[in-house]
């Protein structure tokens, strides 16, 4: 029982440490993929801000004035 508690606690410490490394990479810098993900999210947010959902009728009325 005691051993189990100790093992669980040690596992928690290891998880906390590893998750920190995975989030930022071992050097604390973002990977190319992570930067692309962040940038894409910013573009997606911007699209959400300025673009409304359209259907073909809306588009037709926009194009034909």
């Amino acid at each position: 029982m005691k051993l189990a508690i100790v093992l669980v606690l040690v596992a928690l410490v290891a998880v906390a440490f590893i998750s920190g490394c995975v989030q930022e990479g071992p050097t604390g810098e973002l990977t190319e993929e992570q930067m692309d993900d962040i940038a894409s999210q910013a573009v997606e947010d911007e699209m959400g801000d300025i673009l409304e959902d359209v259907n073909l009728e809306d588009l037709e009325s926009e194009l034909l004035g």
Partner: protein, 276 residues
């Protein structure tokens, strides 16, 4: 003793979490250059009744992490219900090209040019997706910048061009302060002033000066267009006219319904002597 041991381990766990949180670097992403944004339609080149709604966003995003800054040019394409990522994006003066990716695989590419219809920009060009070629048309959705974003541009302009910043202000009135002499303090002062007074003629002139050198940004082109619609003799109109003229030369039929200011500017560009 046992309790003390368990408590020690728990404290180590908490300490690691706290250290990681405090050491976590602040990552900030901001749209820096706006390329093409809008809703549109893609029509198959082989069958005009094979068409699909599209939605596109291409931008240069500035990612700031601590002291480091990097700009990623990237985009998103919605083709019907499917979503793709745009990589290797090139945001030019009135043009956008990019490769289309689904997960890690390239599945196509696109190339769009900006044309003016009425008071808006329309992106038109070609799109290749999964082996099919389409003509694509996108109605650009303009972003209305907040005063803080407008002021940020002025700050950047005055930081990179203190002499010109001073000259631009002097050309339309008194200088807010001397960006060359006061440097950082003055830049911040101008930024604060223009954030509160975006319609001040010096602030407008500084924004125009910034935009003349950032024609790849669609909001800059919109800012200059707004000026040209009222006064086509403004010098910046010629610079913008050159951008649109390059695209018109690829497809001259587009000019048949160009706005009046652009026709005036284009005539001036094409035959400067006649215009004089």
């Amino acid at each position: 003793m046992k309790k003390l041991f368990v408590l020690t381990i728990a404290l180590v766990f908490v300490a690691i979490l706290v250290v990681q949180q405090s050491g976590a670097q602040q990552v900030n992403a901001r749209i820096w250059t706006r390329g093409a944004f809008g809703n549109g339609i893609a029509i198959s080149q082989s069958d005009s009744m094979d068409f699909e709604l599209i939605r596109i966003g291409v931008a240069g995003v500035k990612i700031t992490m601590d002291e480091n800054e990097t700009i990623r040019k990237i985009g998103i394409l919605h083709f019907g219900e499917d979503k793709y990522r745009l990589r290797n994006a090139v945001i030019g003066n009135g043009s956008v090209t990019a490769d289309i990716y689904y997960n890690a695989s390239q599945v196509g590419s696109l190339a769009l040019d900006a044309y003016v219809k009425g008071d808006r920009e329309i992106w038109a060009g070609t799109l290749t997706l999964n082996g099919e070629n389409y003509n694509a048309y996108v109605i650009h959705a303009s972003k209305i910048l907040r005063p803080v974003e407008k002021a940020r541009r002025i700050h950047e302009y005055c930081k990179n061009n203190p002499l010109r910043c001073r000259a631009v202000m002097k050309a339309v009135g008194n200088i807010i302060c001397d960006p060359e002499a006061e440097n950082v303090t003055c830049r911040d002062k101008i930024k604060t002033f223009c954030e509160s007074n975006p319609d001040d003629r010096r602030c407008k002139a500084l924004r125009l000066a910034y935009c003349r050198t950032h024609l790849e940004d669609s909001t800059c082109r919109a800012e200059i267009r707004g000026v040209c619609e009222n006064n086509a003799t403004e010098n910046a109109c010629d610079v913008l006219g050159e951008v649109y003229n390059r695209n018109i030369e690829k497809n001259p039929q587009v000019v048949r319904k160009a706005p009046r200011w652009l026709i005036t500017v284009r005539n001036r560009i094409l035959s400067p002597q006649a215009a004089a």
